[in-house]
């Protein structure tokens, strides 16, 4: 099994799709010579040329819209929005157009487009370069939403997203690009809507996304030392959501923690907690804990930044709170 970084895994999925399929192309700001602001598309210009690795002007709305228009014509564009914060600029096209064309036309068209974007704190980018907005898109019928946390997952999920006939909003996390992991020799598509159990456990289920998957795995190890057995599950696809897997896990452990980097209030964890309390009400021995960023914009100074976003210890404390809760 080859080892790839998360960054390379994204690139590999894009490149392999482009090799086998003329309809796939990528577009975005500075993705050509520069290889994207995160280096994800590095070298792709050389292989595929400027027609299929298209630098765009700074026009988030038009680049998203152009991708939608090409998708309706049967192509499979992958549009990169450099930072999640700039999804606010593309929101009209993604939310009112891509998500709704199929529906409003009564099924006449499909919109096989992927919007890749990334964000995340931890390097003092400040308040306008690190928001985690996945919850917004989960609220929009017609979109699928993916947030992958490992090289293997990001490759297999991106592949499935490219070949899905629906618009997919695909979240990557800046601090994950460098992490490495083994991936299958050949790309194995990972079906959208299937959660991944990263670690089995008996006492509490931690449901985490993105960077928090790794924090949660570390927290689980810590907890293990205290004799607490933690199951860690990554939904991977936030929409459609693998409710069955999440509920099954919680019915087994009877306790749940939901963790993500986005602010807790109205974050994705709210939806997960709502689903769990509804479907596993009689199984729950403690309230569902939510771990997320504190309710502030992201501050610049590292000490404040680290205080705002959640880490291993926040997950661990949540685990302690829930297992220490008498039922």
């Amino acid at each position: 099994m080859p080892e790839l970084s998360y960054r390379e895994a994204v690139r590999d999925a894009l490149s392999q799709a482009m090799r086998q399929d003329e309809d796939v192309f990528i577009m975005g700001e500075d993705i050509a010579e520069m290889g994207g602001s995160m280096g994800v598309t590095h070298g792709m210009l050389e292989e595929f040329g400027p027609e299929r690795v298209r630098n765009t002007p700074i026009s988030e709305m038009a680049l998203a819209g152009a991708a939608i228009g090409a998708a309706v014509q049967g192509m499979r564009p992958v549009a990169e929005i450099m930072y999640e914060d700039f999804m606010t600029l593309a929101a009209e096209q993604i939310v009112n157009q891509a998500a709704k064309h199929r529906y409003m036309s009564g099924g006449q068209v499909s919109v096989p487009v992927v919007f890749r974007t990334q964000g995340g704190a931890g390097w003092s980018p400040g308040a306008q370069h690190a928001q985690q907005l996945e919850a917004w898109f989960v609220h929009v019928p017609g979109l699928k939403v993916v947030f992958a946390s490992t090289p293997e997952d990001v490759r297999g999920l991106l592949w499935s997203s490219i070949y899905d006939d629906n618009p997919v909003v695909f979240f990557e996390h800046r601090t994950l690009y460098g992490i490495k992991g083994n991936v299958p020799e050949e790309i194995e598509p990972i079906p959208l809507g299937k959660a991944r159990v990263h670690r089995e456990g008996e006492d509490v289920t931690v449901i985490a996304t993105g960077r928090l998957v790794h924090e949660s795995l570390k927290a689980a190890e810590e907890a293990e030392k205290e004799g607490i057995s933690v199951e860690v599950v990554d939904p991977r696809t936030l929409q459609p959501l693998d409710e069955e897997a999440l509920v099954a896990s919680v019915k087994k452990t009877n306790r749940a923690v939901v963790a993500h980097e986005a602010v807790t209030r109205m974050g994705f964890g709210a939806e997960v907690a709502s689903v769990l309390q509804y479907q596993a009400f009689d199984w729950l021995d403690a309230p569902i804990e939510r771990v997320g960023a504190k309710f502030t914009p992201l501050p610049f100074a590292p000490a404040m930044e680290q205080f705002v976003i959640p880490h291993v210890d926040d997950v661990l404390q949540a685990i302690y709170r829930t297992v220490n809760r008498k039922n």
Binding site: A62, G65, A70, Y103, G106, G107
Partner: protein, 324 residues
């Protein structure tokens, strides 16, 4: 680039009669829509294009078979001109499964993909970047097709317009951007929404070829559209087609137009009605015109019958078509 049958530079007299008939059909259709809306039969939010028929018909006549359009909230005329049967359009306005969007869309979301209508858009400017994208797909595939966006004067203030046209020109995609300049954005006159008096100047920001035409003269619209399409199709880049036209009725059906001088609309109706203008030019006799009118009126009446006899979607059909 593959060959495509370019439309001829101008229309014969018999063809112009057909154009007149088509404009009249749209007019009668729109009047019927107003009537049925006022009778409380039509749900939703409707905008008619009475006075602007020449733009829809002139442009759509000039299109080749594979060409596509994106329309606006004022979409009935474009939709009919692009080939959707009046029955299917009327059925959509009644929310029936036989409608061109199967009852999911409504007046502001008319689709007929088979006929190259990629959809009306209830968001001002919303369709423009997608036309750039459709044209990009044609360019990438080497298909000799053109993508055409309709939009109003009000739409030229929105960022979407700027980004979409800029991108289209940068990439020289085969697109034509048709500005239907009726001098109003809802209740807001052009002087209150645009700092410039000639919206053709908008194209200068992109260095886009721009052409201007009297939108009440359907022949002129056709000819100009044909040239614009040829330009775009031949790989020379997109064209900004500025169509000077008039909105004879309110912004939406039921609009009391408190903001508008009543004489203005009356005078426009008398002097700038595109149907009267063509009829006069072609010297169509009263008799012939009445015959034509009776014919299209019958089609329109039939469309209402068709629509009323259509099938209401089952409530739970709402759950379909969310995902492919």
């Amino acid at each position: 680039m593959a060959k495509v049958e370019e439309k001829k530079a101008s229309l014969r007299k018999d063809e112009l009669k057909d154009v007149l008939r088509e404009m009249l059909l749209i007019r009668r259709f729109e009047e019927k829509v107003e009537e049925r809306f006022r009778a409380g039969e039509l749900p939703g939010f409707l905008h008619v294009a009475i006075g602007q028929e020449a733009c829809a018909v002139g442009v759509c006549r000039a299109l080749g078979d594979g060409d596509v359009i994106a329309s606006t909230h004022r979409a009935h005329g474009h939709t009919l001109a692009k080939g959707t049967h009046p029955n299917e359009l009327m059925a959509e306005l009644y929310g029936k499964t036989e409608g061109c969007s199967h009852g999911y869309g409504g007046s502001m979301h008319l689709y007929d993909v088979q006929h190259g209508n990629l959809g009306a858009n209830a968001v001002v400017g919303g369709g423009l970047p997608q036309i750039t994208g459709a044209a990009l797909a044609f360019q990438l595939r080497g298909e000799p097709r053109v993508a055409v966006a309709f939009f109003g004067d009000g739409a030229t203030s929105i960022g979407t317009f700027h980004e979409a046209l800029n991108l289209a020109q940068l990439w020289k995609v085969p697109a034509v951007f048709v500005l239907e300049d009726n001098k109003w954005a809802e209740s807001t006159p052009e002087s209150q929404h645009s700092p410039i008096r000639d919206l053709s100047d908008r194209a200068k920001a992109f260095g886009m070829k721009s052409v201007k035409v009297d939108g009440q003269d359907v022949e002129a619209v056709y000819k100009t559209a044909r040239q614009a399409l040829e330009h775009a199709r031949s790989g020379k880049g997109p064209v900004f087609m500025h169509v000077d036209c008039v909105r004879l009725h309110g912004h939406y059906i039921g609009d009391p137009q408190v903001y508008r001088n009543k004489d203005e609309a009356r005078e426009l109706a008398e002097t700038r009605d595109p149907i009267t203008l063509l009829r006069t030019k072609l010297e169509v006799s009263d008799e012939e015109f009445e015959e034509m009118d009776a014919e299209v009126t019958e089609i329109v009446e039939a469309s209402v019958e068709f629509a009323k006899n259509g099938t209401d979607p089952a409530p739970e059909d709402a759950l379909k078509n969310v995902y492919a």
